[in-house]
């Protein structure tokens, strides 16, 4: 069965030698509820980094 996420790849091209995200990964990137959680997580990470950098 054809897989829409990889249909654009040319076999043996550099592009075909890497990983391509599937539907779930792509969906989660713009899933508002999940991204609200990620928003909080990334902000926390960045705060941690800023605190570590200002010594």
């Amino acid at each position: 069965m054809a897989h829409q996420h990889v249909e654009h790849l040319d076999p043996y091209s550099p592009q075909s030698g890497t990983m391509i995200p599937g539907g779930l990964v792509k969906f989660m990137r713009t899933c508002v509820l999940w991204q609200i959680i990620r928003f909080l997580v990334i902000n926390l990470r960045m705060t941690k980094l800023i605190l570590k950098s200002h010594h």
């Binding site: 550099p14 592009q15 890497t18 989660m28 713009t30 990334i42 960045m46 570590k52 950098s53 010594h55």
Partner: protein, 485 residues
Amino acid sequence: MARVVVMGGGVSGHTAATFLRDWLSADHEVVVVTPNSKWNWIPSNIWVGVGRMKKEDVVFDLDPVYKKANIDYRQAKALTIHPEGSKESDTPFITIEYTGQGKEGEKEELTYDYLINATGPKLNFAATEGLGPHGGHTVSVCTADHAVHANEELHKVIAKLKAGEKQTLVIGTGHGMCTCQGAAFEYIFNIDHELRAAGVRDKAEVIWLTNESFLGDFGMGGMHVKRGGYIASSKIFAESLFAEHDMEWILGTHVTKVEEGKIHYETLDGDTDFQEFDFAMLIPPFGGVGLKAYDKEGADITDKVFAPNGFMKVDADYSGKPYEEWKASDWPRTLQNPDYKNMFAVGIAFAPPHLMSKPMKNPNGTPINPTPPRTGMPSAMMGKAVAQSIRDMINGAKEPTHTASMSEMGAACVASAGAGFFSGKAVSMTVYPVVPDYEKYPGVGRDLSYTTGEIGLAGHWIKHFLHYAFMWKAQLKPGWKIIPE
């Protein structure tokens, strides 16, 4: 009474000047010498370059802000530094040439007790024949005006695509020694996003042409992050992102010449080739802005004060040792000039001791490797640390009291991959430390609990929020000091 002169009112200089003015009592002077009348939040130029923002959204007038803050603003460019003064006086000074305030072309001497060089990069389009928007064949997003022009050209291409014509768009670096791949990365993904939104992506060939030896190098030797139980290189994620978006990549290139519709380049293998294009945005190489330095007798000491690339020497190890011997401690900490202790350089203006990525040459002897990036957060942190040191030195400290080494600090960076409140995406990265430290973190050079990356809508929200936060902070609006650098 002391006078601190800040050359350059960009990200790092504006940070240094505004904090110094806030901390020093009114009997001390803070002077900013900068040639533009407007301050520009450069990261948002990407959105101007695809028409998502207007120039007015990313700039503001400096004059009222500096008036309100009681900072002496000279709309001028610095020309020369005289750190020993002249035959007549021991007081150090710089010479400036006005570019505005009704004094265009007038020259003046400006004495200082402390000098901060925050002049950023010279956009050296001239290094590659035919590069850049001023008489060349490529566009740029490095200034707000460049980005306005890039957007106009991009929309001509979109119109042709809509009319059914095939178009080739090439984005990347215009010389073997470029840095700032991040900006080009943002631009290519924003273009892809806009082409898809316009329903014409299938008619366009989108190509990444870069001096990086591998995708995801970004001038910092790449980075590793923990993901799905693996520790994976940025190479894998970058390749995945380009492949997912149906983009080709051409690696390890030194662009030698750009003609109408044709980019000529050498590769790391030593081959020469060309790429045809209808639209190209290639980042120029950066150099120092061409300041000269003179001693008391008027003899030229530019070589003593500046590295050959025009960036100012600070407390770094410039011995030129080979890659195998590089250490994190080669990177400057106080950003103080070793010969003139009242002179500092911050942001892009300081001379890095060496690259961060592994140096590479092709068989013809052409160096092809990204030069070290100095992004917004480290630049502003350097500005603030030097301001703290100068404040303390004015108040009696003998030596700089604060440090901001890129091998001891992290950087958070959000790289836009398309704008839109529900459809936008950005890569949110944190890297610690910025300069890989293979002694402390063998194998990957970085602390994996602080080095992270992910793509998603949340990143776009953060990038959008940061735009307003930094425009607010730079205009010294209420609460500006609590917004981190």
